[in-house]
C-alpha cells in the first residue's frame, strides 16, 4: 500500500483509509473539498469533487485496478492533476533490466540458463501490480494490442520483447510519430512482421520485397482499411460505399521502403555485411537495438504510396525514404480517429459515441499547442472526456467494455495487495485455454487477441449492432477456465514458486479484508469499492452476504488459527464471487 505516488495530504489519506475499513465506502458521496480542478485542452468542466466511487471507476479505466491508496490519491489530487502526476512520472523500471537481473539470478544456479518468455511475463506482473506509473502501465498494454508483436507462433528473443515493451512504455505519452518510427526500427517488430532482412526487388526473377509490414502498418497501426471521418465513421463515396485508404499498389510501393533494414551492426557495408544483415552473425545487442540500414540491400527504384512518390535514385537512402514514408502515414487524416477510437475502446468503452471519438481525434490532430500526435494529450482527452467521466454511465446497459483477462488478474493483485514470495513475481504464462487464455504480448497474430470491430453473434450486444471486442475470446471453455483460474488465484495465489514446486508465488494475505470479515456486509462493501467501484448490484451483494454468512466464525474457546481460517474462508468466498460475477466482467 502507499506506493502509488506522493500524497499531498497524508492525514486525509489515512483518514479515508480508516473510513473505508470501517465499511463506509458504500456511502453515496464521500467527497473531498479540495479536489484540484485542472482541466487541460479546453475540456468541458468535469467533476470538481471526486467521490471514492468516481475515483475507483476512473482508476479502473486508467490503471490495472484501484487500491485504497490510489483511490485517496485521485480524490485528493483530482482527475486532471493525477493524470499530470502520472504522465510526468519517470519510467519506474525497465523490463530489460528485470530480464538481466533475472538472468543473473538464474545463472548463479545454472550457468547455462537463458531468459525465457516466462521471465518477461513475470516482469510484466511485477510492474502491472506494483509500479507507481500505473497510467503508463495501462496505456502500454493498450499500445501492445495495436502495435502487436507476439511470443505466439514466432520465436522472439525474450530480452528483445522486453525491450520492445519498454519502448512502448517510454512512448506512451510521447508523440505518435516517434512511436511509429521506434516501432518500425525495432528488431522485434522487424522479426515479427518479417521485414528485417528484406531486400530490394529483382526484376529478372520477379522477386519482390517482403510486403508484410507495408500492409499491416497501414491496416492495423495507423490508418486502417477505409477513409474515416473524424468521428470514426466511414467516409462514403457517391454510390454509398466506403472508400479504401490504400491499394495493393500502395503496399508494393511502401514495401520497397522497408528494404535494407537488417540486424543492428557496425558492419553494414562491404564484404561480410550480408552475414550481419541476415543475422547469421549477430551483435550481442542486436535484439534490443534499433535495426541498422544496409544500403546495398535497399531499393532505389521509384516508390509510390498514399499519394507520395519517392523518385528513383542512384544512391540508396533507406533513412531518408523511411522518413518520407512515416511522415506520409503520420499525416493521413485517418490516424487520429483510427488510433483514438481504439485507445478509447481499450481504456473506457467499446462503443464510444461519434462525438467522443471526434473530440479525441481533434486532440490527436492538435493538442492545443499546434502539435499533432501528442499521445499524452490523447490519453488525457480520453480519460477526461465527459463521456468517460459521466458516472451515470454505470447504469447504461451498453456502456463500457469487457475487462480483459490479464486486467482482471491485475485487478485482484492490486486490490488485495498481492505480494511475491520470491520477489520475482513468478506468474509465468497465463496463455493456456485452461488458464486466463491471455498473456501479454502473446496474441495469436498481429490482429491481436480480438478485433476492435468484433460484434458477438447471437447476443444482445450483437443484436444491437454494437461491438464487444474482448468477447471474441469468450466461449463455454474460456468462461469456465477463467472461473477456475481466478478461484485458484483468490484462494491460494497465482503462478508457481518453481518448476518443481507448484506452490503459488503471488498471493494475498487479505489483511484489510480479514479485519472486517466477521461482518459480511462490510466485507461485501469493501470488495464492492475495490472491484466494482461501488456499483455492485443489490442482488450480488445479497448473494455474497448469504454465501459468507454460511461460513460460521467460531466463538470462544476457538483458537485464533481456527477463527482466522474461517475469516479467510469468508474473504476468499466473497472475492471469488465478485470476480466471478458477470457484472464485474463488464467495466462501466
Amino acid at each position: 500500500m502507499g506506493v502509488d505516488s506522493v500524497d499531498p495530504d497524508d492525514t486525509m489519506r489515512r483518514l479515508t483509509a480508516a473510513l473505508v475499513i470501517a465499511g463506509l465506502s458504500a456511502a453515496p458521496l464521500l467527497t473531498l473539498s479540495f479536489g484540484v480542478n485542472r482541466l487541460g485542452g479546453g475540456q468541458a468542466a468535469a467533476t470538481q469533487q471526486v467521490t471514492s466511487q468516481g475515483a475507483a471507476r476512473f482508476l479502473t479505466q486508467a490503471t490495472f485496478g484501484p487500491t485504497d491508496s490510489s483511490i485517496s490519491n485521485v480524490q485528493s489530487a483530482g482527475y486532471a492533476a493525477w493524470i499530470d502526476q502520472q504522465e510526468s512520472m519517470p519510467v519506474s523500471d525497465t523490463h530489460l533490466a528485470f530480464m538481466q537481473r533475472r538472468l543473473a539470478a538464474l545463472q548463479a544456479i545454472n550457468p547455462s540458463a537463458l531468459n525465457t518468455s516466462a521471465d518477461f511475463y513475470d516482469s510484466f506482473w511485477l510492474q502491472a501490480a506494483t509500479a507507481p506509473d500505473q497510467l503508463r502501465q495501462r496505456v502500454k498494454l493498450a499500445l501492445s494490442e495495436i502495435f502487436v508483436i507476439s511470443f505466439s507462433g514466432q520465436i522472439l528473443d525474450p530480452k528483445g520483447v522486453a525491450s520492445y515493451y519498454d519502448m512502448l512504455g517510454a512512448n506512451a505519452f510521447g508523440n505518435y510519430r516517434t512511436l511509429l518510427e521506434q516501432v518500425t526500427l525495432h528488431p522485434m517488430m522487424g522479426s515479427y512482421l518479417t521485414y528485417i532482412s528484406s531486400t530490394k526487388e529483382n526484376p529478372t526473377t520477379g522477386q519482390n520485397p517482403d510486403e508484410n509490414f507495408a500492409r499491416e502498418i497501414q491496416q492495423l497501426m495507423s490508418i486502417g482499411l477505409y477513409r474515416l471521418n473524424q468521428d470514426g465513421s466511414n467516409e462514403i463515396d457517391s454510390s454509398g460505399g466506403s472508400i479504401p485508404t490504400y491499394s495493393d499498389a500502395d503496399i508494393k510501393g511502401l514495401s520497397k521502403v522497408f528494404t535494407g533494414f537488417g540486424w543492428f551492426s557496425s558492419h553494414t557495408t562491404g564484404y561480410g555485411s550480408p552475414l550481419y544483415f541476415y543475422g547469421i552473425h549477430k551483435d550481442p545487442n542486436a535484439y534490443v537495438t534499433p535495426m541498422s540500414t544496409y544500403p546495398a540491400m535497399h531499393s532505389t527504384s521509384e516508390k509510390s504510396f498514399l499519394g507520395t512518390t519517392i523518385s528513383a535514385s542512384t544512391t540508396p537512402d533507406p533513412i531518408g525514404d523511411l522518413k518520407i514514408a512515416l511522415d506520409t502515414i503520420f499525416n493521413q487524416r485517418n490516424v487520429g480517429p483510427f488510433i483514438g477510437k481504439q485507445l478509447i475502446q481499450k481504456l473506457v468503452t467499446s462503443n464510444p459515441s461519434p462525438a467522443y471519438i471526434a473530440r479525441v481525434a481533434g486532440v490527436f490532430n492538435n493538442d492545443g499547442t499546434g502539435v499533432r500526435g501528442n499521445l499524452g494529450a490523447v490519453v488525457r482527452a480520453i480519460l477526461m472526456d465527459p463521456e468517460a467521466r459521466d458516472d451515470t454511465a454505470v447504469s447504461n446497459p451498453t456502456f463500457g467494455k469487457l475487462r480483459e483477462p490479464v486486467v482482471r488478474l491485475g485487478n485482484w493483485m492490486r486490490a488485495f495487495n498481492a505480494t511475491s514470495d520470491s520477489g520475482w513475481w513468478l506468474v509465468g504464462s497465463t496463455s493456456a485455454l485452461v488458464s486466463f487464455d491471455q498473456s501479454p504480448l502473446t496474441a495469436p497474430s498481429v490482429f491481436n487477441f480480438w478485433r476492435p470491430g468484433y460484434s458477438p453473434p447471437n447476443t444482445t450486444m450483437g443484436r444491437l449492432n454494437l461491438v464487444a471486442p474482448e468477447f471474441q475470446t469468450v466461449n463455454v471453455i474460456s468462461v469456465a477456465s477463467y472461473l477456475n483460474a481466478i478461484r485458484l488465484a483468490v484462494n491460494g495465489g497465482a503462478g508457481a514458486k518453481s518448476t518443481t514446486s507448484g506452490a503459488p508465488d503471488v498471493h494475498s494475505v487479505y489483511v484489510n479484508e480479514m479485519a472486517i470479515a466477521s461482518d459480511a456486509g462490510a466485507l461485501a462493501d469493501r470488495i464492492n469499492r475495490l472491484a466494482l467501484y461501488g456499483q455492485m448490484s443489490a442482488s450480488l451483494r445479497t448473494r455474497i452476504i448469504t454465501a459468507v454468512n454460511q461460513i460460521k466464525v467460531p466463538g470462544p474457546p476457538a483458537t485464533t488459527a481456527l477463527v482466522d481460517k474461517a475469516l479467510r474462508s469468508r474473504v476468499v468466498t466473497a472475492v471469488y464471487l465478485a470476480f466471478g460475477s458477470p457484472e464485474y466482467m463488464a467495466q462501466r
Binding site: D210, R215, V476, I477, A480, L483, S581, P582, A586
Partner: protein
C-alpha cells in the same frame, strides 16, 4: 431477432430450469432423453470438417504442375533470393546438407529443398485439360515432398484436389481484373477480411458463416442437444455461426468440456439480471457452459468415443523432429464427438479445426514443410480413425476439406511469399470421389519476355473455381437443398456449375 433465435433462448432457459432440480436429476433426465433420440440419430449421421490453414497456405508449393513448361517457369520464379523456396523435380534424391545439389549446382544448406528430395508425383484419374499458355501434351502433377500420406490417400481414391479455388463474385478474366469494373470480393489479400470471406462470403464484420448457415438447415436432425451442432476446439469461429446455431467450443487432449467448481453459488456466475447487456451476454455463456459441460463429457467418456486412439507424434520427413501434431490432436477430439453422436442423439454436425503459422513471408523453408507434413499425417490419422469407430466404418459419413484465407504470391520475396488469391485445396472422406483434380489447374508463370499468362495477374493466381461452388458441393452432400444453397452462396448462380462433383 429471428424466431429461431427465440427458440434457442427458450431452450437455454429450459436447460437452466432442468439444472435447478439438482445435481442428479438432470443426469437421469439426460440419459433418458438421449437414449430416446439416439435411435433416430444413429441411423442417419453426416459431418463436415473444415481444416482451416491459418495465415494463407502457399498452394504453389503444395500441389505442383510438373510438365516441363509449367515446371520451368515455377523453378525460375522460386529458385531466387537468399533462401530459395523452389522444390526439387520429381525423382530427385535428397542431397545432404554440405554437398552440392545436382539441380541447383549450389552448396546445400540444412532445411532447404534439396535436402528433402523431389516432389511426389500424383496422376489424376481424369487428365486435366491443357490451359491456354501452357505448352504440354499431358499435364503432370505432384505434391510437396513432406506430403507422402496425402499422396497415398490420393492414390487410394480417399482424397481429391480442388485446383485454384478462391472467393469470386462472378467469373473474371485477367484483363477484366486488371481493368477493374467487374466486381470482385472486397479487401482481397487482407488476412482478417479473407479469413472472414472464406468462412462467410463477406469481409470482417460478417455474422453468419456458411458452416453455421448449413447447420441451421439441418438442425432438426439433432434432437434436444442442438448446442452440439457446430463445434470447434479452442475458440469460436465465424464459419460455424448460423442465424440460430452458435459454435460450441471444446478443449483438446482431455475431456472436451471444462467444469467449474461446484462449491460456489452458480447463480452468481451465470447471472443474467444485470443492468449491463454485456454482463448478461457473458452470463449467458457461463450458463450454457454449466448446462452442457457434463452432458458432453459424459457422452465422450463411454463406448466407442472413449476408445479413439491418440494420434502418433508428428515425425518430420525432413529430420528427427518429433512433436505433438497440433492438428491431429484436434481431429482426435472431433472423432470422439462423432463417435458420441448417437449417445447425444445428433444427426448432423459441422466442425472447424485449425493449423496455424502459414503466413510464410519469410523463412518459408523452415515453416511450411512441417505444417504440410502435419496436415498430411493428420489427414491420414483421421481417415484411418474414422474407418474404425468401435468397429464401424464411418468414413463415408464424414467429409473433410481444407480452407485458407488466400494463396500466396507465385514469386518469392527472397525467403518467402506474400498474400495472393487463388490456391489449391484437399477434400477427403469415404464419400469423396478421390484420385482426381477438380477445377482447372492454371497456367503458371509471371509475364515477361513476351509471355502473357492468362491465369495470373502479376504474381497472383486468379481463381477459376469459386468458393461458392466449393462450399455448395459440400452442402449438397450434407443434405442442404438447392434453394437453401442458393441463399447461403449468393454468387452461385453466376457460375456454370453449382456442383463440382467431388463428393
Amino acid at each position: 431477432m429471428t424466431l429461431s433465435n427465440l427458440d434457442r433462448r427458450h431452450f437455454l432457459r429450459l436447460g437452466g430450469a432442468l439444472s435447478l432440480l439438482g445435481g442428479a436429476a438432470p443426469f437421469a433426465l439426460q440419459l433418458a432423453a438421449s437414449g430416446a433420440a439416439s435411435a433416430a440419430g444413429a441411423s442417419d449421421y453426416k459431418a463436415i470438417v473444415c481444416i482451416f490453414l491459418v495465415g494463407g497456405n502457399d498452394g504453389s508449393n503444395t500441389v505442383l504442375a510438373t510438365d516441363d513448361d509449367s515446371w520451368g517457369r515455377y523453378f525460375a520464379a522460386r529458385n531466387t533470393g537468399v533462401d530459395p523456396i523452389a522444390l526439387m523435380p520429381v525423382g530427385t534424391a535428397p542431397t545432404p546438407a554440405g554437398q552440392v545439389s545436382p539441380i541447383t549446382n549450389s552448396l546445400v544448406l540444412a532445411n532447404t529443398p534439396p535436402t528433402w528430395g523431389g516432389v511426389l508425383p500424383i496422376v489424376p484419374n481424369v487428365a486435366q485439360p491443357i490451359p491456354l499458355g501452357t505448352n504440354a501434351s499431358v499435364r503432370t502433377f505432384a505434391l510437396h515432398p513432406f506430403m507422402g500420406p496425402v499422396q497415398s490417400l490420393f492414390n487410394r481414391q480417399r482424397l481429391a484436389i480442388v485446383a485454384n479455388v478462391g472467393p469470386l463474385t462472378q467469373p473474371i478474366t485477367k484483363s477484366q481484373f486488371l481493368a477493374g469494373g467487374v466486381p470482385v470480393p472486397r479487401n482481397l489479400f487482407s488476412h482478417n477480411d479473407q479469413q472472414s470471406t472464406w468462412q462467410s462470403g463477406a469481409i470482417e464484420g460478417a455474422r453468419v458463416g456458411w458452416g453455421g448457415a448449413m447447420a441451421d438447415k439441418v438442425i432438426g436432425a439433432n434432437g434436444v442437444n442442438t448446442e452440439f451442432t457446430t463445434i470447434a476446439p479452442y475458440n469460436s469461429s465465424l464459419f460455424l455461426t448460423g442465424l440460430s446455431v452458435d459454435p460450441y467450443v471444446v478443449n483438446v487432449g482431455v475431456l472436451p468440456a471444462i467444469v467449474t467448481s461446484p462449491n460456489y453459488d452458480y447463480d452468481v456466475v451465470r447471472d443474467t439480471t444485470s443492468t449491463s447487456d454485456l454482463a448478461n451476454d457473458y452470463g449467458a455463456v457461463v450458463s450454457q457452459s454449466i448446462n452442457s459441460a457434463g452432458k458432453l463429457n459424459n457422452a465422450v467418456s463411454q463406448g466407442a468415443a472413449a476408445t479413439i486412439p491418440a494420434p502418433p507424434k508428428y515425425v518430420s520427413p525432413g529430420g528427427a523432429v518429433s512433436q505433438v501434431n497440433a492438428l491431429a490432436v484436434q481431429l482426435q477430439t472431433v472423432a470422439r464427438i462423432i463417435a458420441a453422436a448417437p449417445q447425444l442423439g445428433i444427426g448432423r454436425q459441422v466442425f472447424f479445426v485449425t493449423l496455424e503459422r502459414f503466413d510464410t513471408h519469410a523463412g518459408q523453408n523452415a515453416t511450411q514443410p512441417d505444417l504440410l507434413g502435419q496436415l498430411a499425417q493428420a489427414l491420414d490419422y483421421f481417415d484411418a480413425t474414422l474407418t474404425n469407430i468401435g468397429g464401424a466404418d464411418l468414413s463415408a459419413l464424414v467429409t473433410t476439406f481444407t480452407a485458407s484465407e488466400f494463396g500466396r504470391t507465385f514469386t518469392s520475396n527472397g525467403s518467402g511469399t506474400d498474400h495472393a488469391w487463388g490456391s489449391h485445396h484437399f477434400v477427403m472422406g469415404g464419400a469423396v470421389k478421390g484420385g482426381n483434380i477438380y477445377g482447372q489447374y492454371p497456367t503458371l508463370g509471371v509475364d515477361q519476355l513476351g509471355f502473357d499468362n492468362p491465369d495470373m495477374a502479376g504474381n497472383v493466381l486468379i481463381p477459376t473455381t469459386a468458393l461458392d461452388q466449393y462450399g455448395a458441393t459440400l452442402g449438397a452432400w450434407f443434405g442442404v437443398g438447392s434453394s437453401d444453397l442458393a441463399t447461403i452462396f449468393p454468387n452461385l448462380a453466376n457460375f456454370d456449375s453449382d456442383n463440382l462433383g467431388f463428393v
